[in-house]
């Protein structure tokens, strides 16, 4: 679900085009956009506090075979939430799971990891070595 929450609808749809067709689904709830109060901790590791809200879109679906899927994804992309809910339901089917993991989830996860690695590499290029001047206090 974390992978689908980080992917946009177009990226998910593109990967799904390479996967076997999913069964039809009906919407049980949503997609609807609401808010989740994001929390931090005082001092980074102490008592929780409310940092501020974020938009989140949720969707629940049922596939023709009866499996129910849920999704909560950051942002307001209804199509992303619905695709994620459908995939959540389909991934519960042991027969479909391996091929969906291989054609949808893993490629998306690889793309996200590559993006994170590029960012980490840029950050690494800005790593500094400060020298303290002997005459400075």
């Amino acid at each position: 679900m974390g992978v689908l929450a980080r992917a946009d609808a177009d990226a998910i749809a593109t990967r799904l085009a390479d996967a076997p067709a999913l069964p039809r689904h009906i919407r049980l709830r949503g997609p609807e956009t609401g808010l989740v109060m994001t929390r931090g901790r005082q001092g980074g590791d102490g008592a929780p506090f409310n940092l501020g809200e974020m938009t989140v879109t949720r969707c629940s679906v049922r596939l023709a075979d009866g499996a129910v899927g849920h999704a909560y994804v950051a942002g307001r992309d209804a199509r992303q939430a619905e695709l994620a809910a459908v995939l959540d339901a389909a991934l519960q089917d042991p027969a479909r799971r391996p091929v969906l993991l291989a054609t949808v989830i893993e490629p998306l996860a690889e793309a996200q990891a590559a993006h994170a690695a590029r960012e980490a590499a840029k950050a690494a290029a800005t790593r500094v070595e400060f020298f303290t001047m002997a005459t400075m206090r």
């Binding site: 679900m1 974390g2 929450a5 980080r6 609807e32 956009t33 609401g34 808010l35 989740v36 109060m37 994001t38 929390r39 931090g40 901790r41 005082q42 001092g43 980074g44 590791d45 102490g46 008592a47 929780p48 506090f49 409310n50 940092l51 501020g52 809200e53 974020m54 938009t55 989140v56 949720r58 629940s60 849920h70 909560y72 994804v73 950051a74 942002g75 307001r76 994170a116 690695a117 590029r118 960012e119 980490a120 590499a121 840029k122 950050a123 690494a124 290029a125 800005t126 790593r127 500094v128 400060f130 303290t132």
Partner: protein, 356 residues
């Protein structure tokens, strides 16, 4: 003082709004700004609106900036108003800033620290000279250099001090924090409630208050223990699932200010922390928040409460720019009846004083 309802002038108001729309668009011969351009190229304005609007959504914040013609307080106001139209699904687990995907991480207290210092995309060390190359459009900068990464962990500086017993630890707690958006502020306000108010507080107001603590209004000797900026994963436990799931990633900036504490009868001298955490890339705000957070802990740490930045009511009642602008700007509304009575009173006083 009170304002009164007035009627009429609908056509004038419509005309004013039509003119506003025209001014917002500017010269129609020039291309219109897209939300993607605002989000991408005015990213720090977008981040500030999210922080002070207390709602993380870069697209909505970009729309608010566009609608407000770049007036960031008006934009935060628009975002606050919009959020009231949405249902609340619940609260996230506290974000784990120790596990942040770091884009920037610096310390002013340790030259060398595990994981190193990473400048990230910063204005620091730029010359602050206007760059006229940016005035000539059409240039695309070279891609930023990349370097090999090592997997070294980046532990918090406050953790390093805590290991030696030199930093007062944060008591572990899972107490459900009170929520300013659900209940009115009352005093004394506990630290989690204060941090919520500061996180959505006005950057300029907190910057000035933080600055005042450095200049002697409140006894502060702060060091930047650490500033880190990057992406954190947000986890949320939907009631229908009963276990937490990752719902996305957000960028936050965190600042740990390290401050002296003289100790007390029961405690040895040690450092204490002021804490800042804001949505997006907002380093100045995070630093100011951390300074003010520490100043507001004066009473808890047995220090005299003498300066404005240490006064809970003063800080928390006045740090919200949406509330502040509402009350200041309401003075523009018709106060004709009130002012009539003031006029009559002042004329009477002048007659009595023999002036007329």
């Amino acid at each position: 003082m009170a304002y009164v309802a007035v009627k009429g002038s609908e056509r004038a108001i419509e005309a004013a709004h039509a003119w506003l729309a025209e001014e917002r668009r500017g010269d129609p011969a020039l291309p219109e700004l897209s939300l993607a351009q605002i989000e991408g190229q005015l990213g720090l304005a977008v981040d500030r609106v999210m922080a002070e609007g207390a709602c993380h959504d870069r697209g909505l914040a970009a729309l608010a900036v566009k609608q407000a013609r770049g007036d960031l307080i008006e934009a935060a106001f628009l975002l606050r108003a919009y959020r009231t139209t949405l249902p609340r699904f619940g609260a996230s687990r506290p974000v784990e800033t120790g596990g942040m995907r770091i884009r920037r991480r610096i310390s002013a207290t340790y030259k060398e620290l595990p994981g190193g210092q990473v400048l990230g995309p910063t204005f620091d060390y730029t010359h602050r000279l206007l760059d006229f190359a940016l005035a000539a459009e059409g240039s695309v900068p070279e891609p930023a250099p990349e370097a090999a990464t090592d997997a070294a962990a980046m532990p918090r500086v406050t953790g390093l001090l805590a290991q030696e017993g030199l930093m007062a630890p944060e008591p572990p707690s899972e107490v459900e924090p009170r929520d300013l958006t659900r209940e009115p502020l009352d005093f004394p306000a506990e630290r989690p409630l204060r941090l919520q108010a500061l996180a959505r507080g006005d950057e300029g107001f907190l910057l000035s208050l933080g600055y005042s603590t450095q200049r002697g209004y409140g006894n502060a000797h702060p060091f930047v223990g650490e500033i880190r900026m990057g992406a954190v994963t947000v986890e949320f436990e939907p009631p229908e699932l009963g276990f937490p799931i990752e719902i996305g990633e957000i960028t936050v900036t965190e600042c740990q200010m390290v401050n002296q504490f003289a100790g007390s009868k029961t405690e040895l001298p040690q450092f204490t922390r002021g804490y800042g955490l804001v949505f997006g890339q907002g380093e100045r705000k995070a630093m100011a928040m951390a300074l003010v957070d520490r100043a507001l802990r004066a009473a808890e740490l047995g220090e005299p409460v003498e300066a404005p930045a240490q006064d809970q009511e003063f800080v928390l009642y006045h740090c919200d720019n949406v509330e502040a602008t509402g009350f200041v700007e309401h003075l523009k509304l018709p106060h004709y009846v009130d002012f009539q009575s003031e006029l009559e009173k002042i004329r009477l006083l002048r007659r009595e004083a023999g002036g007329e």
